[in-house]
Amino acid sequence: MSSSSNNASGFGLTVGLSLAVFARHYLKSPLQAGAILLGIILAVTLLIGVRATNENAVRSYSEATELLSQRAQLLLTPATGKKSIDEAVYFALRRAGVTQALAVLNGTVTDKQGQRWDIQASDLVAALSIQSEKAAGSSKAHASNQNTEQSVSLLSAEIPLAKLLAGAPYVLTSQSFADDAASTGKMTLNGMTLNVIALDDSIGLGNAILMDISLGQQLLNRQGQLSYIALFGQADGLTQQVNDTFAQQTSQHFDFAEQDQGEGLTSLTRSFHLNLTAMSLLAFVVGLFIAYNGVRYSLLKRQKLLVQLQQQGVPQRALLSALLIELFSLVLVGSFAGFILGLQLSHWLQPMIALTLEQLYGARLMPGLWQWSWLYQAIGLTFFAASLACYPLFNTLAKQPLARSASRYEQQSQAKKQHKKLFIIALFLLTGSALLFPLTDNFQYSLGLLGVVTIAIPLLLPLVLQIGISLVERFTRNGLWRYAVAESKELIAPLSLAMMAMLLALTANISMNTLVGSFEITLKHWLDDRLYADLYIRPPSDKVLQTQALLAELPKVTAIYGQWMHSSRYQKAPVSLMTRDAHSLRNSNQVKAQTDTHWQTFFNGDSLMISEPMAIKYRLNVGDSISLPEFEQAGLTALPISAIFYDYGNPLGQVIVSQKNWRQLQLPIQPTSIAASYAENISELEAILQQRVPLSAAQMYNQTKIKQRALEIFKRTFSITLVLNSLTLLVAAIGLFSACLMLTQARQAPLARLYALGVSRNQLRGLVSGQMLLIVLFTCLLALPTGALLGYLLINKVTLQAFGWSIAMVWDWQAYFRVLVIAIIASAIAVILPLLWQTRKPLISSLQQEAL
């Protein structure tokens, strides 16, 4: 008993002593600790940054509330085929006692510059009183949670209720939005000057422009109309109550739509968030490579020390524990720093994400929150990954024979064996994924396989470098340069980890660049085909006929086209049901697949077309039949799909029917938008329309303007991806830098020896730079095929499956050389800086440095 406790305390003491020795070691060479910490910090930063951003977005979807109010359980939406609900429905509901209700009107308005803004108008008294009830309820339930969310009340001094209810031109926005979009405190929308009341961002208005419905109906010129009515409470009970109020005749007035818990938006945006997550994991892996490299290097430098400790009687187990504790402390410190930096990173990323989400999916982001659990998870994950990677190292070190002096040659041959082993593992992984890839059509599995490929790629590197440099060696003359190349081979082992991280980052960067570049070219082609008319006009509904008549009158108008659009649902998800005039139908769609008799059956009204994203999402093929609620209402049977067309501009599915079907479906006969071709300068036609209808400039788009806007939005959408990618490359460059720095320091002695043998400083510099360049070049060379491979998989598997976009892959040499230059610059700096430091030191101190 006492001996075991003695043992335990003795064990603790030795662990403590070993730790103290390690601490002195790191104090002596802070660079080593710094390299490890750097890797961990970078890994955790990116992981947390993306995590915070993603989680906040998902939380925003699931907690989305009506503006200034609470979360609705049931929505009454316009009856099928209608654009709005009559406000009388709302009045009737309130009188009948369905008072947990909120009338909302949405619309789009334009400012003086022609920019479009979405506005929301609601019954603000109802919104605020429902919100304060929620606040009162939750303060009773869990008063402590109240502190995190701020709300505004009907009687808050910041809300000019008198003005708002009188329909005076006052709108409510978040402070950030007001700072950006209305720094003067005023906005002019649809010709009306509005006073902007800025509310604290935590109230959650996001980028919305909110106003009372009394003003909203005027501004949108939609008197008596509502977009939807939100109901609060139990969905079943509410449905019952509403049905009773309207004597079961509800379908004449509105449709019911039960509010999901954000699942709709979450699933719509899942692929987007998954891509971000994949990117962050990639960065995490790159960061870990750097950390691992640091650990390995520091152990290498302590090899002798560890042996000495063991010779002093420190048991292996104590040594191993001390090493693990050291690793854990580093992980702890690194993770914490990374956590804080990650939250900061997500500050910078969120606006970008918010842009993308609002543009593509119409989702509103709430102010960010963060959780301590992310830190614990990050620490756990990092420690797990790090110990998994380092344990074998620790083990071999701790168990090395006490009297051992491994020869250089032995070490080299062992490294070579190791490289071969890695290469074989990589080949195995690659073959496995090559076999599995054709079998999956789910982007999540594809992304998983992509992950496997990503892991396999860097494993290829050491052997490739080995072979490559051996080849070069053969063609080098004897002498200093032969020596340089031969020594490079020895550098592979210590440098390989940093180079692997670099390779990974390069590969990812090249592949993402390929994806984005290819997409941009595809989109441009698509837009060229899609936009055949010179001018696209979206007149307000009361001016459509007038606009059409005027266009028909003008002799220089060579063609008039129309587009009809209607919002429908397919399998509960929103889709657009649309048609165009015959010419547009034939010419504006790039068809991906079609039946032989496509156009004939289509114009006969016996078939329809769907967009590619919809076809992929629902696994529909040419020949399958689909039906929409509108079909059932008009008594139409399901129609077969006779063609699938490309669509890159819309997150929602699209169904195109012929004019004939459109009439059968009894959908509005007025076109939603009109397009025209003009024989002369298009601005002339714009001027005529502005004068004679009159239409505002904002209601017209000429072709160039649309293309410009579309590409602008495209670039913004991908900016987040590119930023993450560049960050990963940066992480890798930093990793390479620190590895080179350590290596060059370690090589002070051999270099000093060479100098002592008469090799000039310039020659030495050339030698070291040449070696490094050789290794970097081989890495970049390998990144070429692997980048192409990853790009191919991203384009043809992940993007296609996730977004439903087929993209023709275009290889971008320029982008390739750009990252190549970055890699070379990073390594050049990493080599030259320590060299310069070293050449300033006295020769003797370098000579006395330990050999590698």
Binding site: R116, A136, L155, L165, D180, S202, S214, H347, L360
Partner: protein
């Protein structure tokens, strides 16, 4: 075409920092207490009570009540109230209310108290723009209603806010209706009685038949009710203490037949407030001799200031007697800690000039109102020189 229609505003970063709570609740409580305070000033004032600090809240309802009265109609002495016209809303005055309290007995003999109040608050004085309103949504009137049901074991309260609008809230002339959503006083003709009062709250609902043959009691000087001695602050004010009630009440999924008596107060003004009071204790009591007693004490802010008392003894034939401050003694005898504060729920009341010596007992001592304002309002019984039932309101604790 989706792309072209989506334009993007610039987005600024929102800090990931916990939002700082700027609690507005206290100021609402404070400001709504002012509203209720003025609500209590149902009886006429004989004494000045405007020394010391002003009781003005800085925001919210305080602004609504205390703000600039310019542009609103003033309350002037000598005005003849006329019915049924004055049952309607007076939108040119800043505040107004219809206030009913009822002491009911269920078919099982259980005692039940019921309160219904509809408040009107003008957000802006009448102006030319008002006549240019083109939409039903545009309004300058805001309505708030409270209703509560009190039994020995339970006290349930509900509140609602709506804009003044022909569809939601307001009054209608013929037949007379005072309504907010589905809470409404629906008369059979242009007079207040007979009428049906119905309301549906989440936890309870009721439909009551109301009738009264007694003349209205004009408070103060023929309906001109001074709020201070100088008369710079006053309201128009009348009551109906003698209302017969029958009807049904739904509670816990159970429908109960009820009957009893109710009391209606009607009051409107543009300025109730000129005061230093901290709160008040108010009683509406029906005595077993067939008379009714309205009585209150206004408590002053400091210890030094003497509380101000007032009352009126009223009879079903329409006559009544004012009771002056010095004739009244009120002493709290028991206190109750409730969710929203500590209230004096039992009192001894002595008015020697009227030969009245009473003690009051609350039916449910926990009848505090957990709404935007914390106050206590519930049914009481009296014993002593007279017996009977009534209502008590306690604020400012």
């Amino acid at each position: 075409m989706k792309l072209k229609s989506r334009y993007l505003s610039k987005v600024k970063l929102t800090l990931i920092s916990r939002s700082i709570v700027l609690s507005i609740v206290p100021s609402i409580i404070r400001s709504l207490a002012v509203l209720s305070l003025s609500l209590l000033l149902t009886a006429c004032f004989n004494e000045s009570a405007d020394n010391g600090d002003s009781f003005h809240a800085s925001s919210g309802m305080g602004q609504l009540l205390d703000g600039n009265t310019q542009g609103y109609s003033p309350v002037l002495p000598g005005k003849q109230l006329s019915f049924p016209a004055d049952h309607q809303a007076h939108d040119d005055f800043r505040q107004e209310w219809w206030y009913l309290t009822a002491n009911l007995t269920t078919q099982n003999g259980e005692q039940l108290g019921l309160q219904w109040t509809q408040f009107r608050i003008a957000l802006a004085p009448p102006s030319p723009t008002q006549t240019q309103f083109t939409s039903d949504w545009q309004t300058e009137q805001l309505y708030m209603s409270h209703t509560a049901m009190t039994s020995k074991q339970q006290h349930l309260a509900a509140e609602k806010w709506t804009r003044g609008n022909a569809h939601f809230a307001g009054t209608q002339v013929s037949p007379l209706r005072i309504q907010q959503d589905d809470w409404k006083w629906q008369s059979h003709n242009e007079q207040l009685f007979p009428a049906t009062l119905s309301a549906n709250a989440t936890e309870f609902s009721y439909q009551l038949q109301l009738d009264s043959q007694a003349p209205f009691q004009l408070q103060g000087d023929n309906g001109y009710s001074r709020k201070n001695a100088t008369g710079t602050v006053a309201s128009y004010y009348y009551s109906q203490p003698f209302i017969k009630v029958s009807g049904t009440v739904e509670r816990d999924g159970e429908t109960l037949k009820v009957s009893g008596n109710a009391w209606l107060d009607r009051e409107w003004s543009s300025q109730f407030l000129s005061k230093t009071q901290q709160g008040w204790d108010w009683f509406a009591l029906r005595l077993d001799d067939g008379s009714a007693l309205m009585l209150f004490q206004l408590r002053e802010n400091g210890e030094k200031q003497q509380a101000f008392y007032s009352g009126r003894r009223m009879y079903p034939d329409g006559c009544g007697q004012q009771i002056n401050s010095e004739q009244i003694t009120m002493i709290a005898t028991a206190w109750q800690q409730t969710e929203s504060g500590r209230y004096p729920v039992a009192w001894n009341i002595a008015i020697p000039s009227q030969s009245i010596e009473l003690s009051t007992q609350a039916l449910n001592a926990n009848a505090s109102m957990p709404l935007s304002i914390p106050y206590w309002e519930g049914p009481v019984s009296i014993s002593g020189s007279h017996s009977g039932l009534g209502y008590m309101e306690l604020t400012g604790y």
